[in-house]
Amino acid sequence: MKRDSRRNVAVIGVGLVPFDKYDDESIEEIARPAVVAALRDSGLTREQIDAAFVAHLYQGEVLGQRILRGLGFAQIPITNVENACAGGSTAVREAFYAVAHGHFETALVIGAEKMGRGLINFINADLEMTLGNTAPAQYALAAQRHMYEFGTPREAFAQIAVKSRRHAQMNPNARFRDPVTRGEVIESRAIADPLTLLECCRNGSGAAALVIASEDMVKKSGAKPIWFLGSGLASWMFDNTQQDLTSFGATRAAAKAAYDDAQIEVADVSVVELHDAFTAGELLHYEGLGLCGKGEGGRFALEGETEFGGRVPVNMSGGLLSKSHPLGATGVAQICEIVWQLRGQAEGRQVENARIGLAHSQGGTGLEAGATCVTLLGREP
C-alpha cells in the first residue's frame, strides 16, 4: 500500500501479560489484563474503541468475542485472525489498514494463546509430519544446508541463544533470564542436529494487546504516538519444489514490501524484534531482512552486530527463545517491545536513540506453507 494513499496511524497503547504457563487460568482470563493495560496506556475508554482484531491459533471459536464480553464491550465488529505463528502480526496489519483507510478511527488488537507442552501438534498433519518431520527439524534442515553451502560455524547458532539470554536478563517480562554460555547451549539436550534444547523456543501462554488510532484520534487522546511506517506480508508455498532452503523467500518478500511501503532503507532500522523460534531461524532471517548479505548470517551473529550495543540490536526483549511462544500473542508482543523502545521506555535495555523499529514474525506448517509479516514503526510519521 502506498503511503500517500492512506492516513497516518499510530500505536497509542500497549499491554502485555508476560508469557508463562498459566495452567489454572482460562484463555479469556489470561487475555483480559492485556486489554485493560493497553486501554489504560492509551488513555481511551472502551466506548472509544471502534473495532477489534484478535489473533489466536488453537483457542476455538470467536475468541475475541469471548474475551471482550467479559470487559463490557458493546456491539463492536470483531475479526478473529489466523495465520499460524504470524497471526498476531497479521491482525496488527489488518487493524492498521482498516484505520489507515478510514474504516475506523481506533482499533484494538489482541493476540492470545494458551499452549500445552512439547512439540506442536498441527491440526492437519501433512505427509512430512506423518513421516516424522517436526518444526525444529525443519529449521535444522535449513541450518544444515546453510552450513554446507557457506561454511557457517555451528557456534554462530549457539551465539544467538547466548545473546537472547543476555538481553532477557535486562527484561523483567522475559521468562528465561539465566545467562548461558555457548558451551552450555551446544551441550544441552539434542533436539534436531545441530539444534539443541536451548536453541528452541518453549511453548508458553500469554497475551498482548494494542490500541491503534488515526492521526485525528491521536491528537484528541493526547497519547504519545508511535507511528506505523509500513507493512509487508508474504507467503511461501513449498510444493515439493527444489527451492533454496537457506533463504526464506517469504521473509525477503515481506521485508521488501515493508521497506518500499515505508520508503526507508534497511540501514534506517535501529532495533528489531525477529521471529527466533529457533536460533537457525534468526540467523537466516538476518539475511532475509537484509541486515547482512546472503551467506553472511554466521559471521554477523558471531561479530555481535545484533547484540545490545551492536549496530542493530535484535530481540532486546529476549525474543521467543527467552520469552517462550504463545503463537497468536507473539507477533503482538513484538510490537509492544518496539513501542517501548521507540518511546524510550525500555528500562534497562533501551537502545540509544531508537528511531525506527522492525517487527518480523513467521508461521506455517513447517516450511511447507507459511506466512511472514514485517511491520515498521517510527517515532515520526
Partner: protein, 138 residues
C-alpha cells in the same frame, strides 16, 4: 501391504520389477510431474489430467538432520532429509542411519522400511533412502 506393515500415507509408493518407487503423477496436458496423485494439475489446472508415474528411485541428498526430540511412534533418534529427485521434485524422507548414513550431496537410492508405530503399536512403512551403492554389495 506386507508383514512389515501398512504404508504410513496411502498411495505413497510401491515396488515393481525395477524395485521400490514413490508414486508420482505426470500431467497429460502440460507434462508437470508432482509427488502423489492429484485431481488438478498445479501448473496448468487441467482436471483429471494426472497419470501415475513412478519417481524417486534415486536422488541426491539436499540436506539432512537427525531428529532426537521425537513425536509419538518413534523409539530412537532417526535421520531424515530432503532428497532432490531427477524428476525435478524434492521429497522428505528418512535416511539410513549409522556409519553408512548418507551425507549432503550424496547420490541415494530408495528403500521402504518400517518407520513409525501407530497408536496400536503397529509399524507403518515409508521411504528411507540409503547411499547408492554402484558396486553391488556381496
Amino acid at each position: 501391504m506386507s508383514a512389515n506393515g501398512e504404508m504410513l500415507w496411502p498411495g505413497l509408493g510401491g515396488e515393481d520389477n525395477h524395485g521400490p518407487y514413490l508414486q508420482g503423477g505426470a500431467c497429460k496436458s502440460c507434462g508437470q510431474v508432482v509427488l502423489g496423485m492429484r485431481t488438478l494439475c498445479p501448473k496448468c489446472w487441467t482436471a483429471d489430467s494426472i497419470v501415475p508415474v513412478p519417481v524417486g528411485r534415486t536422488g541426491r541428498l539436499y540436506t539432512r538432520t537427525t531428529i532426537h526430540a521425537m513425536p509419538s511412534g518413534f523409539d530412537q533418534p532417526y535421520a531424515v532429509g530432503y532428497v532432490d529427485l531427477p524428476e525435478g521434485i524434492r521429497v522428505f524422507a528418512h535416511l539410513e542411519g549409522g556409519d553408512q548414513s548418507p551425507a549432503i550431496g550424496d547420490t541415494v537410492e530408495l528403500t521402504f522400511a518400517p518407520l513409525r508405530k501407530d497408536k496400536q503399536g503397529q509399524p507403518g512403512r515409508g521411504p528411507r533412502y540409503r547411499k547408492a551403492n554402484m558396486e553391488s554389495a556381496p
